[in-house]
Structures are given as C-alpha cells and as structure tokens.
Amino acid sequence: MSKAILTDVTKCIGCLKCVEACKDVNHLEADVPRVWDKNDGLSAENWTSIIQKHGKHYVRKLCRHCLEPACVSVCPVGALRKTEIGAVIYDSAKCMGCRYCMMVCPFGIPRYDWDQTVPHVEKCILCYDRLKEGKQPACTEACPENATIFGDRDALLKEAHKRIRENPAKYVNRVWGENEVGGTSVLYISDINLDFLSYQTRPVDMPLPKETLPAMEAVPYAFFGMGGVMLGLSWIIKRRMKLSGEKSNKEDSTHE
C-alpha cells in the first residue's frame, strides 16, 4: 500500500498554504536567501516551494519520493530509507555528511545546512510521523483548493488519467512521476511541461540505481579475477625463472 501525492498544477493558486503548513509541522525556521540556495525556493528551511511559471502556473516542488530512490541506494550508511508507506525518510543520527545523496538526486531535492557546524541533509519526508498516525501530510491537508491531494498511488494515478481524459484540451497528456526514474510517489498533472523539475527529460526512464548495478555486480569478479590473474602471473614467472635456472627465492630475504 504505497501512498502518494497528486498535484494538479491547473488548480493551484499559489497561495503557499502548503509551504506554511510544512514549516509549521516540521518546525522549520524562517528562511532567507543565501548564496548557496538553488533558484527554486527549496532550502534547508523550505522543504517545499512554489515556482511560478509563465504567468499564472504555480508548480509545487518537493521531494518526489521515488519508488526506487537513487539517494537511498547510494547512502553508504543507510541514513536514507524508503518506507513501505512510500516516504523516503532520513535518519540524521546515522548520516556522516558525505552529500552523495545530493549529488545523485535526479530532481535536485536534498538541501544541506551549509551554515551549521553540525549540518544535516534536509528534505521532505512526506510527514512520515503524521502518516504513521493515519493522518495525511500537512501540505495536502492545508491546500484550500484541493490542488494537491493525498491517497493511494494507484488510486491517484487513476484519478490523474481520469482528469486528463475528461479534459484533454486542458492538460498535457502525461502524468509526471508515473514512469520517470522508475516512478515517483509524487505525481503531477499539468497544462504546461514540467520537465524543468528534473534533470531527466525522457518520460520513461530507468531507475537510477540500475545504472550502477552492472559495475557493482562486477565487483566480486574484478576482485577475485585480479587476484587470480596475479597469482597465475606470479606462478608462471616463478616457474619460468626456475626452469631457466635462476634463483628466484632470494627476494624475500634481500629486499624487505
């Protein structure tokens, strides 16, 4: 039972209620523009933001909670975790601050407390604590226009396709988050192209962890293969030396 958020860009009025609710629930402080902020409104203190595009299109940006998250696959200490309920959550007690998750995120979501001496990674956790209590995330609850709604991923996908079907002139015929990088738990339907939210631009894309899979699978082969090659080489050379009558067992005593 994977949960998800569906945002209908055509319905959003850009009131920022979701952002405010997010800040309240997650105890985020007031934010000020910093040199290290990206230009998308997200920061260590803003886990969601609203971007205004082409006049009156308001696009909410937040962690996409990928079905096969790159950040989770690369974290060397497993500080990031994809929960059964769908949220990708962060354990600050495990984190060692390598920032690999920030590098690999296809949507450029995780932020860092650059100004702190004890910095952590900051990103939306889909209000995991609220989900466990059976509530919905603060942002979807706060939305006055029901532009962003919460529910089962399958049901929301159906709803998204239904809305597009009923109003094909209004929407771009695509549900963002359905297939990109293997699918995400945050879905969008929109009347404008939303590719700017992502580094990926192809609608159907391989989950990023699969990119490293061949190399990671080759690890034992490379390890023992190199060991085998070296042993073989040394055996052949030693034998050849022995055959040509050289005393080859001297090096242990003379060269240490």
Binding site: G14, V19, V35, Q52, P76, M102, D113, T212, M230
Partner: protein, 637 residues
C-alpha cells in the same frame, strides 16, 4: 642554498595557513569555508582528493611488478611506492574529516551497511587497503629494533598474500571511485559521463601512479642533490607511455562509440575543458615519452611527468565537480578550499620527508645536509645570532614558519558566522497591553500604533464602512472604503492608485519617492532647482521636504524627513505581513470578517465581479517568468 630546508619551510608555511582554515571549518562550518552549495555539493575537494588516490596507485602497481612479475630492477622503488601510497591514502582520509559534514560519524560505515552503495564499497576498500599498506610498510620502521624481530618476521612471512590482497583491493576501489559517478547520467556533462568510467579511472590511476613515482624520484634527487638513477625514471616513463596510450584509446573510443564526438568540437566551455584534459593526461606526456631519445632526457622527464600528473588531477576535479551540470555557473572553489587541500598535501610531504630521513626507505638513507655533524654553526644573517645546533635551528625556523602563517591565516579568514542576508522580515508585533498593535512598516523601528478597538469603533460609527467580501476588491483598486484610507499617504490627485504603483517591488522595500517621475516632463515636470537649493550638493537630505509641496502628507513623524525617508514595504510584505497577519488572528474570533488568511480570498483566477472598467486585476502578480514565490514566515502571530 639548502634545498631541503627551503622546501620544508615552504611546506610548513602552507601547513600553518591550512591549520587556520581547518579551525575555521570546524568552528564556522562548511558554508563559511567553502563555496559549495546546494547546486554543487561536491566540488574541488572531492575531485582533488580522488586524484590523490589515483596518484597513490604506484603502491600496488610496483607491488604487482616487483612481487608478482619479479622485475628485480624495481626493487629500489618498492618501499618508496608503498610509503607514497600510505601517505596518499592517509591524506585522503584526513581530508575526508574536513569534507564530511559529520566527520565524527565516519565509523558508521563499519556498523551501518548499505552494500548497494559504491561509496560504501570504496569506504571499506580504503579502510582495508590502508591497513594493508600499514602492514606492508611496518617492517621498515621495525628493522632497526631487535625487540620487534618476531613481528617483522611474521609480516615478512605473509608478505606475498598481503601484497596480493593490496592489489586486489586497489583494483576494486580505484575503479569503484569511477562507479560513484555512474549514477549521475544526466548530471555529469555527457562528454565526461561514460558507462566505463570505472575502467577509465583504473587505467588512469595506473598511469598516474607511475608518473607520480617518476616525479617523486626526480624531486628527491633534486632536493638531496644526488645523482639520478636515470635508468629507473626512464623505465617508469616508458612503461607509462603504453598505459597513457591505452587510456587515450579507451577514452576517445568511448566518446566515439557513444556518438559524442560532435560535443567534443562544439566549442563549448566543456569541450575545451575536455580537450585540455586529454592533452595534459595523455597526448603531451605520450608524445614526450614515446621517443626513446626524449624519454631519456631529464628535462623532458620533469616536464612530462608534471604535465601528466596535472592532467590526472584535472581529470578527477572535472568529474568530481567542474563537469557537473551548471557547476561552472554556480561554483568556483574558494581560496580556503584550495589552501586546505594543499595544506593536507604539504603535511603529508613533511611526514614523507621525515620518514625517509629517519628510516631506511630509500636505498640510501638521505641526510639533511645541515644536520650533519661537521656542519659549522649557523648564524642568522640578519641578527648574527647563533640559532643553536643545526637540529634546533631547523626546529626553530620551522616552528616560526608555521606560527607566522597560522597567524596570517587567522587574519585572513573572516571569522564571522554566516548570518542572514537578503530581505529583512517586517516585525509585526501582536497586540501588547490593551489592544495596540505596533507596525514597523518602514523597518526603522519607528512603530506605527494601531489601536484596534478604536478602529472597530470607527467602523461601527460609520467613519469606515464595514468591509465586505465584495468590497475587498477595493483593496486592490484603492476605493474610498479600502484600508488605504487609514494606512496610506494621501497621494495628491491620485486617490485611485493601485498598490503596486508605490510598492513597486514585489519582494524588497522601495523608496516611495519617485525621483524620475518628479523630474520627467510627463510627470511632475519639475526643474532641479525646484527642490534642490542651487549651489548645494543635490542629495535627498538637502532637498525640500515632501510636505512643502504635499501638505496633506499626514504620515506620523515625516515632517522632518526628506524624500529618502519614505521607504515602504514590498508588495508582498505590505499585503501579507501587515493585512493578512492581523486578519489571521481576527478570523478566529470574528466570523463576519473576510478571511484574508485564506489565500484564495484574494488570489482568484478570472475576472472578479465588480471589477471596474480600466482597473487592472493582474497587479499583484509579477510579470516575469519562473518566479519562486517567497515563503511565508513560520508562526505568524
């Protein structure tokens, strides 16, 4: 001139500078020390550091050549290669302590496992390989003491498996450092991204390791003024030629097979970076070393090895940071990043020099020329004082170098915690005492008092008619019944001004006084002398007061101010922080008020009913693309 001492002084100077910056890093954090940001979380540090690992590859390559392939002539390089590798990896680990956000958690990798992560694999390999290197090198410091003879004998007995394990681990992590970047196919610039980065990293590490050893040998001979084992450097260079050639073929072949040759020649910044990198890493050293005559020339060896090393370093820095999407737009390394990295290297170099002078690492143990017993006492050139025995005087000078550059470093770092920059928030104080609200609209701490009960009384008595949802549109249109009656200056002749005509900026406070409008023919059409006294410097302070022309300006305490004093909040602040803030509280108590806290009350799509002809509805929206809306301040009171 004593090359050894001068080199050491320089190294101590850099180390001292870096020590100050290391302090800055831990006291004030990463943001205060580096230019890393959310767009470029990995930068110069990671890339430079990766190159140290690559240049340390000599340790396992020489191990393989000497122990596995039994090439006896590399014997004199074995210990120095292992020492280089050990110090390279140690420097890598030390620099991680500065680079990681939470370095005290670095050991978490031992207990929290995530075998899917390439970084996890690299981490374990580096830990194990550093241990292997310690075991490989340990017999050297132990050989002078008979006390540890058993330990030494034990280590030598297992030398072959230890070296073999070292080779296996190195193969793994030299390539896995490339695997780190496989997961960023769209983030790394296409020219630099390849599915065989691990293989490219492995090959370039072997070449880099060999070149580094050749360079080291040259440098040590230069420093200690010893005749050069030209033969060995020659051999190293000529071996590396084949690896450089292979690397070139793999790189270019990969680019060609992936169909990216067009990108190579498109004249973009990245293509130039790639071409320069290829020239430095492969083409120039290859051409220099491929001809036997040149390869034996010592000057060519110096230049060729240096260029090759710079190339490998550049390659790692590119992939670790510069070739990332938009990185050049967002990131240039700060001087502190560079100095700290170089400082860690100089510390490693000092340790290296100490070890080769103390233990039998080289075939001949070099002596510090000034530390020899027959050296005459050294007198300071300036003061003419004796600085003590050569050893003491060296210690004095090194300490002095360190302390001075540490002090310089402390002076250079700003030593300031990064504080909030940008737009200040308007402080709106909640009613304190009875019901008076203090509004700091001008942000000059001169609060405007807002007696709320009195306003309610005025509204009841008809002085202000009650505001209904429909008439809210007057807020935008500045109708007679709007807030503007109380809250705004009475702009002469323009009672129907739109908010944005004064609050011209969406996000930052502006000067209400529009100088250009006053001076222009289509505006007030005033001459300079109408406001500024002739002969005096024309500034806002010396100009006539606004009230001289506009006696109806009744804003509190403005009589004494010139035009510059009329700062007004941004549009967003005016609407959200002043109006909405109060109404958020009010809406909980009084039900018949318009719920301004509900954004959709104002922000509606379509034309609102009752919008009069000629009025603009779109006033509240900025008219440029891709705007990030400012986030509300948490906990509006």
């Amino acid at each position: 001139m004593n090359r050894v001492h001068n080199t050491k002084i320089v190294l101590w100077l850099i180390t001292g500078l870096a020590a100050a910056i290391a302090l800055n890093r831990f006291v004030f954090g990463l943001g205060a020390t580096t230019n890393l940001n959310d767009e470029v979380p990995w930068g110069f540090w990671i890339g430079f550091k990766l190159s140290w690992v690559a240049l340390s590859a000599g340790g396992f390559v020489i191990g393989a050549i000497f122990y596995m392939m039994k090439r006896e002539k590399f014997h004199s390089l074995v210990r120095i290669a292992i020492l280089t590798a050990f110090l390279g990896y140690s420097a890598f680990i030390v620099s991680l302590i500065f680079d990681l956000g939470l370095p005290w958690n670095i050991w978490h990798m031992i207990i929290y496992w995530n075998p899917n992560s390439p970084l996890f694999e690299v981490g374990w390999c580096v830990m194990l390989y550093t241990t292997v290197l310690v075991l490989e090198f340990l017999p050297v410091p132990l050989e002078n003491t008979s006390r540890y003879a058993t330990v030494r004998a034990f280590l030598q007995k297992f030398r072959f498996p230890i070296v073999l394990l070292g080779i296996m681990l190195s193969t793994l992590h030299q390539s896995s450092l490339g695997t780190l970047f496989l997961i960023m196919p769209r983030r790394l610039f296409p020219l630099f991204y390849s599915h065989i980065i691990p293989i490219e990293f492995f090959i370039s590490a072997i070449a880099g390791g060999l070149l580094m050893l050749a360079f080291e040998t040259l440098a040590l001979h230069w420093m200690y003024r010893r005749t050069l084992e030209t033969d060995l450097v020659h051999v190293l260079c000529s071996v590396s030629v084949w690896i450089l050639g292979l690397y070139f073929l793999v790189k270019i072949g990969d680019v060609a097979l992936e169909g990216k040759l067009g990108l190579l020649l498109d004249g973009s910044w990245m293509s130039y970076l790639y071409i320069v990198e290829m020239l430095l890493t492969t083409v120039i050293p290859f051409v220099m070393f491929v001809m036997p005559k040149w390869c034996a020339n010592r000057r060519v060896q110096w230049i060729g090895t240096s260029i090759g090393i710079v190339g490998v370093v550049l390659n790692r820095i590119d992939i670790g940071g510069f070739a990332m999407r938009d990185a050049t737009l967002w990131y240039t390394p700060s001087w502190m990043e560079v100095v700290l990295s170089v400082g860690i290297l100089s510390t490693a170099a000092l340790v290296f020099l100490f070890i080769i002078e103390t233990f039998h690492v080289w075939d001949i143990q070099p002596r510090d020329p000034e530390a020899l017993s027959h050296t005459p006492p050294f007198f300071d050139r300036v003061s003419g004082t004796w600085l003590g025995s050569p050893k003491t005087s060296a210690l004095t000078r090194h300490t002095l170098a360190f302390v001075i550059s540490f002090a310089v470093g402390m002076a250079l770092i700003s030593g300031k915690r990064l504080h909030a920059e940008g737009i200040e928030n308007v402080t709106v104080r909640p009613a304190s005492g009875i019901d008076t609200l203090c509004i700091n609209g001008n942000r000059d701490s001169q609060f405007v008092e807002f007696p709320h009960q009195a306003h309610i009384g005025w509204m009841r008595s008809g002085r202000i008619s009650s505001v209904t949802i429909d008439s809210l549109h007057y807020v935008l249109g500045a109708g007679a019944d709007s807030c503007i009656v109380c809250h705004h200056l009475d702009v002469p002749g323009e009672k129907l001004s739109n908010c944005w005509e004064c609050h011209t900026s969406m996000y930052s406070e502006v000067d209400f006084f529009r100088h250009d409008w006053h001076a222009s023919a289509s505006g007030a059409n005033l001459k300079c002398d109408d406001c500024h006294t002739p002969g005096e410097t024309r500034t806002g302070r010396t100009a006539r007061k606004c009230t001289a022309c506009h006696p109806s300006y009744t804003f509190a305490d403005t009589a004494g101010y010139g035009p510059n004093a009329y700062y007004i909040p941004s549009y967003v602040d005016a609407m959200h922080k002043l109006c909405v803030s109060c109404h958020t509280i009010e809406s909980r108590v009084i039900k018949d008020k318009p719920n301004l806290a509900l954004c959709s009350t104002c922000h509606r799509t379509g034309t609102p009913p009752g919008l009069r002809a000629g009025m603009k509805w779109d006033v509240s929206l900025p008219r440029f693309d891709n705007v990030v809306l400012p986030t509300p301040v948490r906990g509006i009171r």
